[in-house]
Amino acid sequence: MAKVTMIEAINRAHAWEMAHDSTVVVLGEDIGINGGVFRATAGLQEKFGTERVQDTPLAEGMIAGMSIGLAAQGLRPIAEIQFMGFIYPAMDQIANHMARMRHRTRGRITLPLVMRMPHGGGIHAPEHHSESLEAMLAHHPGLRVVCPSSPARAYGLLLAAIRDPDPVMFLEPVRLYRLVRQEIADDGQALPLDVCYRLREGNDATIVTWGAMTFETLRAADQLQKDGVSCEVIDLATLSPIDHDTILESVAKTGRLIIVHEAARNCGIGAEIAATVAEHGLYDLQAPIKRVTGYDTPMPLFRLEYDYIPSVARIIDAVRDTLTE
């Protein structure tokens, strides 16, 4: 078993599935000979040819629209959007067609496709390269929105996404691409979608988070543990539809809920989780629900990005606040 980074794990998931399913095709900007700006598709064109691994002209709406055409014809496209901030030109295709093709044709046309995209900030990237727009996608019924937080989950969830019979938006936290290495078997084993992953057990408070924010969250949990505060950390993983049961169960145990995400707060996924607990778990709550999120401003240019991204200190304070209530 090899120790790989998340970007390598993503690369291997592609390679595995392309080798085992000839209907899988890969497309996007600079994903061919260049192997993607983050190298997620490195080597694939060489291995699988220029028909199955295609650079596209520069147009995200086109990438999404042609993916629909490909999938409707029975292929399984994996399309890369170079950075999540460039998803907007594709939104018409995603919302008005992708998300509802099965629904509106009563199952006649289905779209087994994946749109992959780097997600979030923290690597001092240029303007528009650090966006967290998962809530925009999650608000559109008919899409699965997935975000891994480790190499192994990236591998297993991407395989699940490719094999899923419906469109999956696969968000890859850029900060984690090369942060850690982890052993993966590379055996084509998929992980389940639509469920949360418990990263850490605890009794005093539940922290729900996903993607790169698992990093700050686990560090905060470590520090709190030193002071005897035991936090349960839940990785949402599939951001839509949400596995609310796991969260409600945990809150029933801990009585306290903190949600951490990098995206802007207003109408973020944190709001949905909080609202659901306020409806179905209200009597379990021993303190107000806290959200530790990006501010309701655009992600700033990078000199301030770590003032925007929730810090360990902010998470710790939020947990402490709920404990002293």
Binding site: V25, E51, R52, Q54, T56, P57, A59, G61, M62, A64, G65, M66, S67, I68, G69, L70, A71, A72, Q73, G74, L75, P89, D92, Q93, N96, H97, R102, H103, R104, T105, R106, G107, R108, I109, T110, P141, G142, R144, D164, P165, D166, D194, P241, I242, D243, H244, D245
Partner: protein
């Protein structure tokens, strides 16, 4: 300054407004039975169209987009296709769809507010109606890409309106199809109006066919009221596509004789005489005249056909009107192949309130 590139746009017409041949007709016109089949379908489409407008006026149908005047373009293009090709319609190409087996009941269900209208029994690979203007062009390009990847000799044909040519997706699709030599045919139905906006306000170009030059692919203009010109040009384009020669853009010049939809009142923005003039070159008139001149058609057959069409349309209307509303489950059943738990809960909740809303 030296000239480094030159381009031209050609025009194709076989039948003038009176149904007289201008120049040598293409071979398929020798097949009288086929021509009669085309004419019969055009007549059925028009009968259907009139009826559908009526249904809307009497509250039995939602907003409906008429295809009055477009019959030659729609039927002509479809007649050039093979059944295993992929049609990508906008929202008023009933002639093309009927040719391929979509039923009148499907069309009525769709405009009657029922998703089942999109569940065609025939040509199940064809796309459903696409209301977001321009977006469908990319589906055709993508489908054509799939065909190319698999080495098939099929093709995808998309329609788009004159107004639709202002949308970026139109150019993106042409450019992609050109760059990858995809077997895609893009038929621009220039009916001169995009709701109230005349083509002159939509673009500064002299033709819409020339927009193909921006993608480095051939663009041809045809008389869209001349079914021979449409079928011939589309057939040539399809042959080239099957042959690996890539896409073609065809501008079919016609006229929207109706309001934009039943929700529109065109007298607000266009002159009566323009419409009156346009009626002189409408497509059935000239086709009928031509068929009569060849002896393939006469008034008696016309009468029989009219009665037949009326009967077929009435039967479809009956079927439509007797299709019961879907249950509230229909909102959920096809959202995903595997319905998530939260959606299942919502489905169950919705059952409890079936028809509790205002009407």
């Amino acid at each position: 300054m030296k000239t480094i590139a030159e381009f031209e746009v050609k025009y194709c017409q076989f039948l003038d407004a009176d149904g007289k041949a201008v120049g040598k007709l293409p071979p398929f016109t020798q097949d009288a039975a086929e021509l009669v089949k085309m004419y019969r379908l055009m007549t059925l489409v028009r009968t259907f169209d009139t009826k559908a407008i009526n249904l809307q006026r009497t509250g039995k149908l939602g907003t409906y987009a008429s295809c009055l005047g477009h019959e030659a373009t729609h039927v002509g293009a479809a007649a050039a296709m093979r059944s295993d090709d992929v049609l990508v319609p906008v929202y008023r190409e009933y002639g093309a769809q009927f040719w391929r087996g979509v039923t009148m009941t499907d069309v009525l269900l769709y405009w009657g507010g029922d998703e089942r209208g999109n569940d065609f029994k025939e040509s199940r690979q064809d796309f459903a109606w696409s209301v977001p203007i321009g977006s469908q062009m990319l589906h055709a390009a993508g489908a054509a890409m799939a065909m190319k990847i698999r080495g098939e000799t099929r093709c995808a044909l998309a329609f788009i309106g004159d107004g639709g040519t202002s949308q970026g997706a139109f150019y993106e699709a042409m450019n992609l199809a050109g760059a990858r030599a995809l077997p895609a045919i893009f038929v621009i139905v220039n009916n001169k109006w995009a709701i109230s906006v005349p083509i002159e306000d939509q673009t500064a170009t002299a033709t819409l066919a020339q927009k193909a030059i921006a993608a480095g692919i051939p663009g041809v203009q045809v008389d869209g009221n001349d079914i021979f010109a449409v079928r011939h040009t589309v057939a040539e384009a399809i042959a080239a596509a099957r042959d690996g020669k890539g896409p073609t853009v065809i501008e079919a010049v016609t006229y929207r004789l109706s309001d934009h939809t039943t929700a529109d009142d065109a007298t607000r923005y266009r002159k009566e005489h323009e419409v009156k003039d346009a009626w002189k070159s409408e497509p059935l008139l000239r086709f009928r005249a031509y068929l009569k001149s060849t002896g393939a058609w006469d008034d008696a057959r016309e009468e029989t056909l009219k009665a037949e069409c009326a009967g077929l349309v009435d039967a479809a209307v009956e079927e439509y009107l007797h299709t019961p509303k879907q249950s509230t489950d229909a909102m959920f059943d096809f959202l995903f192949a595997r319905l998530p738990k939260s959606t299942r809960e919502q489905r169950d909740a919705a059952r409890r309130y079936a028809s509790s809303g205002a009407h």
